[in-house]
């Protein structure tokens, strides 16, 4: 077993299963474990010292980019010329990612505490929790927790007897992947289509309602609450030097034990797949894995010893991303898999930028004909060419995300792509389509 095998889950302590298990931590249970003590400590320290502490902890954002939360909070002006806002990103729509769901359903108070600490440190009195509409149970549990916290004087005016006032409200999405992108999320709360905004100005200066705004993933905020309660030293004792702490990895696909696994940053991909997720199903051979959701390039067999922290995957030109790990065994056809995902990006592109709109459309068309056995010579090279051009001149990263299933796969498995043209059909049997 891995070096991480003595690790006891913190964020997902007591969380059972991936989807609602009937138990959501109550306010009383949470407080019995020291819940809201972090907030209490923050209120005693004052906003400036809290900000320093979060900076020192180097909590890198769990929403995908790994940007340090303390630095982000530090961009917010230290005055209140305009109201400030905190937006909690619980839109979790990255294919293969389901860790935020479990935390929302089962530990809503941990997330509320983190959000309140973020609001306090950034001189904000207003938090919006953006939850994707499909998360019905998560929404119910979060709303119940908000109501309970308000009744206990943890939300509203004069929180815990201090002069800190803060409101927390849920804003529901309506089925748009792009609204997980922070500026699209802001537009959506403003009652508009989720069109990402050009930057600058950054949300920290002109975000929600043109006011200074922090957008953080809920896991980032959950960690902030733990750090306030347990201290920086504790946090830095977990994970690696440059990627301190823990995260919840979601593992899906062709493994024996798919699920959420909370572990220190620093576990390797091989350990995740074989030690935690129980290896490949049916004794099949491993073929490839998306390490951070479907939007990042795949890793292959000889690369599985990569450490799953924020920086190590970069040496293979891929990323930790959403820590949604999608494992594929030898039965999977890459053209089929890419086609499935390209449909997703084609459908979800907001259409503002030409390279993204046209690029996803072209790639979708080409993959469709390849998989149907109607590809023509040059199609594989054309795909590569589009991948190389889509990332430029785009407002957000979705166009680049659309190439995740192709950029590293085509050079390695060119023959597999080309075989679809040469044989005039997909050479795979597709056992995974059989529905029992």
């Amino acid at each position: 077993m891995a070096a991480t095998n003595n690790y006891e889950p913190i964020l997902s302590a007591g969380v059972t299963g991936t989807v609602y298990s009937g138990r959501s931590e109550s306010l009383a249970d949470y407080r019995a474990k020291g819940g809201y003590d972090g907030l209490k400590r923050a209120l005693e320290m004052g906003p400036d010292k809290v900000l320093d502490l979060i900076k020192e902890a180097n909590i890198r954002g769990r929403g995908g980019a790994g940007f340090p939360a303390g630095v982000k909070w530090g961009f917010i002006p230290r005055n209140r010329e305009r109201p400030h806002y905190v937006c909690v990103n619980a839109d979790e729509s990255e294919p293969g990612t389901f860790s935020n769901r479990s935390l929302l359903e089962q530990r809503p108070h941990l997330l509320i505490e983190g959000a309140l600490i973020a609001a306090f440190a950034t001189l904000s009195e207003s938090v919006y929790v953006y939850i994707r509409k499909e998360y019905y149970e998560a929404t119910r549990q979060m709303q119940r927790a908000i109501d309970d916290a308000r009744a206990a004087g943890l939300i509203g005016k004069g929180i815990l007897g201090s002069d800190f006032n803060c409101e927390v409200a849920i804003h529901l999405g309506a089925g748009a992947y792009i609204c997980g992108e922070e500026t699209a999320l802001i537009e959506s709360i403003e009652g508009k289509r989720g069109y990402p905004r050009n930057r600058p100005p950054f949300p920290a200066i002109q975000g929600l309602y043109m006011s200074p705004t922090v957008v953080n993933n809920i896991e980032t905020l959950a960690i902030a609450a733990e750090v306030m309660r347990r201290g920086v030293e504790w946090f830095k004792g977990i994970g690696t030097e440059k990627s301190p702490g823990m995260t919840v990895y979601s593992i899906s696909g062709h493994v024996n034990r798919p699920g959420n696994y909370e572990l220190p940053l620093g576990v390797t991909m091989r350990e995740l797949i074989y030690d935690y997720a129980g290896g490949i199903r049916d004794g099949n051979k491993f073929k490839a894995v998306f390490p951070g959701g479907s939007s990042v390039p795949m890793l292959f067999e000889d690369e599985l010893d990569v450490v799953m922290d924020f920086d190590s995957p970069r040496k293979y030109n891929t990323f930790l991303g959403s820590t949604g790990i999608i494992v594929m065994d030898e039965t999977v056809c890459f053209v089929w898999a890419s086609l499935n995902l390209m449909h997703f990006y084609w459908d979800e592109s907001c259409g503002q930028c030409t390279p993204c709109r046209e690029g996803t459309n072209w790639m979708y068309k080409i993959l469709k004909r390849l998989e149907a056995g109607q590809g023509v010579n040059g199609d594989v090279e054309l795909l590569e060419d589009i991948c190389g051009n889509i990332t430029s001149r785009s407002i957000c990263a979705l166009g680049e995300f659309a190439t995740g299933s192709l950029v590293r796969t085509i050079p390695r498995f060119r023959a597999e792509f080309q075989a679809h043209i040469d044989q005039g059909r997909c050479p795979f049997e597709k056992g995974y389509m059989r529905f029992g």
């Binding site: 009652g191 289509r193 798919p258």
Partner: protein, 183 residues
């Protein structure tokens, strides 16, 4: 809770008059009126199952924006319906992690059983099949949403049972409906 100052402006707005307390509470959560649009669209859809042109106009009036802006949002967000749907909306997850676990076969089974394809509704108005993207439950694949309920690790037997429960009215319908109005 501040009430909308609308005695004159919204007195003829059926949507507002029907859901006064809910809409006042929604509006109070935001500093600008247009932010209330998405929650109000959800209110409409929960009642009717879909969002008609007339409802868009009434929502625009409440949110102090134009019907064109409302239409922009209704057509942008995939979960808002611009046509009536069945009493039970079956949202099949079709994205890769589920597809690796036979989501295509699940769709084929349901589609054959009900005699409808993506986005269609059965003649009896009972079922609509929708293609959904990753529902954030990939470890439980294949999955689908039956209205608000997430159904996991689906098999033929499970599907047969779910459809039967819907037919017998044992599950909550997608929309509550209102008097004299056929969704």
């Amino acid at each position: 809770m501040p009430e909308l100052n609308t005695t004159s402006a919204l007195a003829t707005n059926d949507l507002y008059m029907r859901h006064r307390a809910d809409i006042d509470a929604i509006v109070a959560r935001y500093p600008i009126r247009q932010s209330a649009l998405m929650p109000i669209l959800w209110l409409i859809q929960e009642e009717d199952g879909w969002i008609s042109d007339e409802m868009m106009k009434q929502a625009a009036e409440i949110c102090e924006c134009t019907p064109a802006e409302v239409l922009e949002s209704v057509s942008f967000y995939q979960m808002y319906h611009r046509e009536p749907v069945g009493k039970y909306v079956l949202g099949i997850c079709a994205t890769l992690p589920c597809a690796l676990k036979a989501a295509d076969g699940l769709y084929a089974y349901l589609s054959e059983k009900l005699g409808i394809t993506w986005a269609e509704t059965t003649q009896d108005g009972l079922f609509t099949i929708q293609r959904r993207e990753c529902l954030g439950a990939c470890s439980e694949a294949p999955v689908m949403l039956v209205n608000q309920e997430l159904e996991t690790k689906l098999t033929r037997e499970k599907i047969d049972r779910i459809l039967e429960e819907c037919r017998q009215g044992k599950r909550k319908p997608y929309f509550t409906g209102r008097n004299g109005y056929r969704a």
